[in-house]
């Protein structure tokens, strides 16, 4: 049975590794999350397959023959076995917890040269603001990020709770009225990526999807400069309320 379980585990792990689970990776820590998930699969698939194997094997091997009214062996337990299946899972979850903690610390570590972008959730759209050293703020409904530049999102909400998720970054944080929450990422791949609201926020929740653009540093600077010029009136006007907001990607 052990051989059977091992074989089935190998097949199981091979199958789940063949699946393309995650969306594109677009930040420096996306890969860490995906690797962590692969490790979880590697640990857990043999457990699941093992349980399945014992069930199927027992049913086939120990099934009552027709008319067999006998009882099984009166085995009441085994202190040694029970100790093993307390200790082994304990060790596994402990190791996984430490590993997860290390990855989390790496994700959340402040980085030099960090750019702050303020994110505001509103029923049913996201607004963004780029403060700069001079104290001026550029407000926009488009999120554009420079490649390879660490960014910290300061997130809040105007009305109800929203959740700011960028699947390509593997990062998400609730936008909470009355609080400023945050997360950090370093985009490392150019392209358009979706922003999804994942906290039920009312009627238009399903349509609260936007996209962000990761561009080269120079292109970003030009874009910001253009926004700063064009939005001179916008600087003091607060978040744009004329936005059509709801957009499907």
């Amino acid at each position: 049975m052990l051989a059977l379980a091992t074989l089935a585990s190998i097949v199981g792990v091979a199958i789940v590794y063949a699946i393309d689970w995650f969306p594109t990776q677009a930040s420096t820590t996306s890969n860490d999350v995906d690797v962590l998930y692969d490790v979880l699969l590697f640990v857990s698939i043999p457990i699941f397959v093992g349980v399945m194997t014992v069930v199927v094997y027992s049913v086939m091997r120990f099934r009552a023959r027709p008319g067999d009214m006998g009882d099984g062996e009166p085995i009441h337990g085994s202190a040694r076995l029970e100790l093993i299946w307390v200790i082994v899972p304990f060790v596994i979850v402990s190791v996984l917890s430490v590993y997860a903690w290390i990855v989390l610390d790496e994700q959340e570590e402040p980085r030099a040269n960090e750019m702050v972008v303020r994110v505001t959730g509103q029923q049913f759209a996201w607004h963004f603001a780029y403060p700069d050293a001079s104290g001026k703020t550029v407000r926009t409904d488009d999120l554009v990020l420079p490649e390879h530049r660490p960014v910290k999102f300061d997130i809040t909400a105007e009305d109800v709770i929203h959740s700011f998720w960028v699947p390509a970054f593997r990062m998400k944080m609730d936008a909470v009225p009355g609080l400023t929450t945050s997360f950090r990422v370093t985009p490392n791949r150019q392209g358009n990526y979706s922003i999804v609201c994942t906290e039920l926020c009312g009627l238009g929740h399903a349509t609260m999807r936007q996209s962000l653009k990761v561009v080269p540093e120079s292109e970003f600077a030009a874009w910001l400069e253009k926004k700063r010029g064009a939005g001179a009136a916008n600087v003091s006007a607060g978040p744009s309320t004329t936005s059509t907001g709801v957009r499907s990607q």
Partner: protein, 632 residues
């Protein structure tokens, strides 16, 4: 009976009149108070609805007769004798009356909860119909949000939690050798609060602005701002919660004080242990959800600012209070199932439950650990960030006692004599599916991963693996297992097996693919989604319809077998626990003579071992009772 007599005697006529009076009371009270304060307009629909939901609910309980005995006693009037002599059910009508017999109440619970299970299931079918393709198909987004909110609320508060209470109501007193529950009238009141809660949740679709549409979690401040349908949820939860607490207290007192002579705690069947620990969870945790919903109600109706940041309120506080109940609630919905599976597996593998004491201790460990993990639902909520790692670790640690249970069931199978009956199939299906749900639970505890997958379809997949593949499979196992005891009839084994295999296959085809769409970027609770998820969602929807149809086989089997099934023997499974030592269905007082327990409940294979002895009986248990039981 004259009309006057009908309207004064406990029952449906008086209940209807009473509910009407409750509505008038609400109208009068609101108008009076608003007149005293000089508010305009005098008639405020939302305020009247809020008061009416409370007053009509209580009025129904008064009218149907839940409080008659207590009122008579308190006022010194002669009480109507209310012992069990008049309280078995002799026709189907008796199930529609206030009845204090735990066996009648058990069946009232099970049938009522299945009505709401069907309603919730139909809503799930509508949800899947809408999600079969991107865009809007059948329902507008507001109705859609209402559908999944009511679906979840019915399934949790009106099906899984109370159906376990129903099964336990029937089985626990029999299992411990007691004639009834400790507080039979409280037991009846607990049951009758349920239909009030269920009807209220369902009726919210009729409210102006539609049903409550904030999910079963009702996060503030969305829930404090939504139309009046939300009030139906906050008040219905109070009725369901009060029912839950009262039943749990009843179980605790019954199990502590009414065990048969010789039935020590460590001779109790594991189902009794499971309901004991579940009841502890209910009594400790449920007041927290009651509190959270009261605070929402006060914010809505009284103008308080508990969750209004503009008024100094704290939005995240709602989630802390809510999850301090609702995480333990996950175990409230699972521990009784653990108990059922232990009974089913030992009887059908003809072996003692492996590591009985560790099985009992692991239940206690889950109760304690269950209170230390609530914030794992809030990893991306913006709560104080240091709390996340400790909560991740405690969450992971729950895998240890849960693992003990899984591995002990597997060891119970080992070298047994396995009978693949329908309840056994569901128990084995449970073990495998719950393992998968447990594994996705571990994934959801690992912080960097859960930051990505929280509030996605991965969570929807996980919750259905633990609540359907977990809890509901154990409910089916339990119902098939005790069906002969409850009805005195045998169900159809072939139909039962077909039901299992169809459920098992289509369950996996429905909820399995949800893992993929979730990780790939599809959020939950959305009426519409990006085109990239269209093909998998189409597969999920088609599977879910077939999954839904498979339930009809169960329904057909239960109804026809209850009416015309072959007579069941007292002990068709040759099990050792006490409920099988009396006739099927059991006599009115359960035991014509109280058994003495002399050994463990699962001594299969030990020569000559018995769990309980009856002084008047010879070796073979003889069914005592009124129902002319055929004996195999």
């Amino acid at each position: 009976m004259t009309m006057t007599a009908r309207l004064t005697a406990p029952g449906w006529y008086r209940a209807a009149l009473s509910v009407l009076a409750g509505a008038l009371f609400a109208f009068g009270l609101v108008v009076l108070v608003r007149a005293l304060y000089g508010y305009e307009p005098l008639v405020d629909g939302e305020a009247i609805t809020t008061v009416a939901l409370i007053s009509m609910g209580v009025a129904f309980l008064l009218g149907i007769g839940c409080f008659d005995y207590w009122f008579r006693w308190a006022s010194g009037a002669p009480t109507v004798p209310d012992d069990h002599s008049g309280h078995g059910a002799r026709s189907w009508r008796d199930y529609f009356r206030v009845n204090t017999d735990h066996k009648v109440i058990g069946i009232q619970y099970i049938v009522t909860t299945f009505v709401f299970f069907v309603l919730g299931g139909l809503m799930a079918m509508l949800i899947r119909a809408e999600l079969a393709a991107p865009g809007t198909q059948f329902v507008d987004p507001n109705t859609y949000n209402g559908l999944f909110s009511v679906h979840a609320s019915l399934m949790i508060f009106l099906f899984i939690i109370p159906v376990f209470a129903g099964i336990a109501n029937y089985v626990i007193p029999l299992m411990i050798g007691a004639p009834d529950m400790a507080f039979p009238r409280l037991n009846a009141l607990s049951f009758w609060m349920l239909p009030v809660a269920g009807v209220m949740m369902t009726a919210s679709f009729l409210a102006p602005g539609g049903a409550f549409a904030t999910g079963w979690t009702a996060y503030a401040p969305l829930s404090t701002e939504m139309p009046v349908g939300q009030t139906f949820f906050t008040i219905a939860v109070q009725f369901a919660g009060a029912s839950s607490i009262a039943t749990a207290l009843n179980f605790l007192v019954t199990i502590i004080t009414m065990r048969a002579p010789g039935l020590t705690f460590f001779r109790m069947p594991l189902l009794v242990w499971a309901n004991f620990t579940t009841s502890l969870l209910v009594v400790i945790a449920t007041p927290f959800i009651a509190g959270s919903q009261f605070l929402v109600l006060f914010d809505r109706a009284l103008g308080t600012h508990f969750f209004n940041p503009g008024g100094g309120g704290d939005v995240v506080m709602y989630q802390h209070i809510f999850w301090f109940y609702s995480h333990p609630a996950v175990y409230i919905m699972m521990l009784p199932g653990f108990g059922i599976v232990s009974e089913v597996i030992s009887a059908n593998a003809r072996k003692p439950v492996f590591g009985y004491r560790m099985m009992a201790f692991s239940l206690v460990a889950i109760v304690i650990l269950g209170f230390t993990v609530w914030a794992h639902h809030m990893f991306v909520s913006g709560m104080f960030s240091w709390l996340r790692v400790p909560m991740m670790i405690t969450t992971m640690l729950i895998a240890v006692p849960t693992g003990i249970k899984i591995f002990s069931w597997l060891a119970t199978l080992w070298r047994g004599v396995i009978h693949l009956t329908t309840p056994m199939l569901f128990a084995l299906g449970f073990i495998t599916m719950f393992t998968l749900g447990g594994i996705s639970g571990i994934v959801l505890a690992i912080l960097p991963v859960v930051i990505h997958v929280s509030d996605t379809y991965f969570v929807v997949a996980h919750i259905h693996y633990v609540l359907f593949g977990g809890s509901v499979f154990t409910i089916f196992a339990g119902l098939y297992f005790w069906f002969p005891k409850m009805t005195g009839r045998m169900y159809d084994e072939t139909l039962g097996k077909i039901h299992f295999w169809l459920s098992f296959v289509f369950f996996n085809l429905t909820f399995g693919p949800m893992h993929f769409v979730g990780i790939d970027g599809m959020p939950r609770r959305v009426a519409d989604y990006a085109d990239q998820f269209a093909s998998l969602n189409a597969i999920i929807s088609v599977s879910s319809f077939l999954f839904g149809l498979s339930f009809l086989i169960f329904l057909y089997n239960m109804v026809t077998s209850w009416r015309n099934g072959p007579r069941a023997a007292a002990n068709p499974w040759r099990a050792h626990t006490l409920e099988w030592q009396v006739s099927s269905p059991p006599p009115l007082f359960n035991f014509d003579d109280i058994p003495t327990v002399v050994g463990g409940p699962y001594e299969y294979g030990v020569p000559g071992a018995v769990h309980g002895v009856f002084k008047d009986r010879e070796k073979e248990p003889v069914p005592a009772g009124t129902s002319g039981v055929a004996h195999e």
